[in-house]
């Protein structure tokens, strides 16, 4: 049997469906349709919130770093913390731009799947940066933040500070590597593979 013969059978099947399908309007009316609209915008809202709070935090760190810039022990961690935060903000901007450019309503199937998967791929790769840079940020921001907020000098007890850094790094990185491998690595591979499939499908091969 050829596909064209099956097409005729499919048309018959469509007729049978028309006769036998039941539409439960009451059930559809009972569904929380408005809630799903909000859920759809959630990722963009989250990224905008992250950028706003991140920007406020960055301003505070920069101003504190300037305030204590006469002392190198506060200037250098302040600069490192600011730099990591600036990169984080830049990545969030990239995510917002990608999300805002997705046309969920009028894109063709391939176009939308490509946009969504490019965003997903970037999102997962940026997560890697966030995960691995977090300790650098936390270690560098602590002295300047404690000084600015509580007037505490973390360097007054250098051994305690070094031991705290050492312990947190020893505990954090194996955990972060495990976390990324088990939660994100496979997703990155799947997304990259699907993107390749989409590009191949788009080509006349």
């Amino acid at each position: 049997m050829e596909l064209d013969d099956l097409k005729a059978a499919w048309a018959q099947y469509d007729k049978k469906l028309t006769e036998n399908l039941k539409f439960n309007e009451d059930l559809l009316r009972g569904m929380n349709l408005e809630k799903s609209k909000k859920e759809m915008n959630a990722p963009l809202t989250y990224e905008i919130f992250s950028v706003t709070t991140g920007a406020i935090f960055l301003i505070y760190i920069i101003s504190s770093t300037i305030r204590y810039s006469s002392e190198l022990k506060f200037l250098s961690p302040g600069l490192i913390a600011s730099l990591t935060l600036i990169i984080y903000l830049y990545l969030s901007f990239v995510k917002i731009r990608l999300l805002s450019n997705i046309d969920f309503y009028y894109s063709s199937v391939i176009e939308l799947q490509k946009s969504v998967n490019i965003f997903k791929q970037k999102y997962l790769r940026f997560k890697k940066y966030e995960l691995f840079v977090f300790p650098v940020f936390a270690i560098s921001v602590s002295p300047i933040l404690l000084k600015a907020l509580r007037n505490l000098d973390l360097y007054a007890h250098p051994y305690r500070y070094i031991i705290a850094i050492f312990l947190s790094l020893i505990l954090y990185y194996p955990l972060a590597i495990w976390f990324y491998k088990n939660l994100f690595d496979k997703k990155v591979r799947n997304t990259t593979f699907f993107l390749k499939e989409l590009i191949q499908f788009e080509k006349n091969e």
Partner: protein, 170 residues
Amino acid sequence: MKAKLQKVERDKFFSIIKNNQNLIFKICYSYCPNPENRKDLQQEILLQLWNSFSKFDGRVKLSTWLYRIALNTAISFYRNYGKYNERKVSIDASVISLSTFEYVPEQDENIAMLYRFIENLNELDKALILLYLDDNKYKEIAEILGISETNVATKINRIKKILKEKFSNN
């Protein structure tokens, strides 16, 4: 006034869904062989259609818009079932279902065989073959999927060959 407008919009949406329930049913059946998952996919498609309904301005044909949203949702659902499973707006029954047991697609030999064949295709070829079986022109299929007409023709021919081999083996 706002409530009245909302009611009019909802009624219009319900009528569109009712008139195109066959299309939604067939997409769900093709992407989800499991009846439980099928119910979830159907719910997801209806929610996505509702989400984009207010943005529908007739720029494309209604069927093109419906196919795009439904197929995109089905492809994403097929790829990330776990995530959708976590949604809290779950319902117990299906909005679109077969009214009685008078007609069971699985008992229709050709249709059952076709669904088995579709089940083995990847998510993109599934969309292509469904559009072809629903008697859409190559131009429409190209517009819905976002590929060229010649590409549609090449892919359909390739699937036809595979199908012929499969059916002759059976």
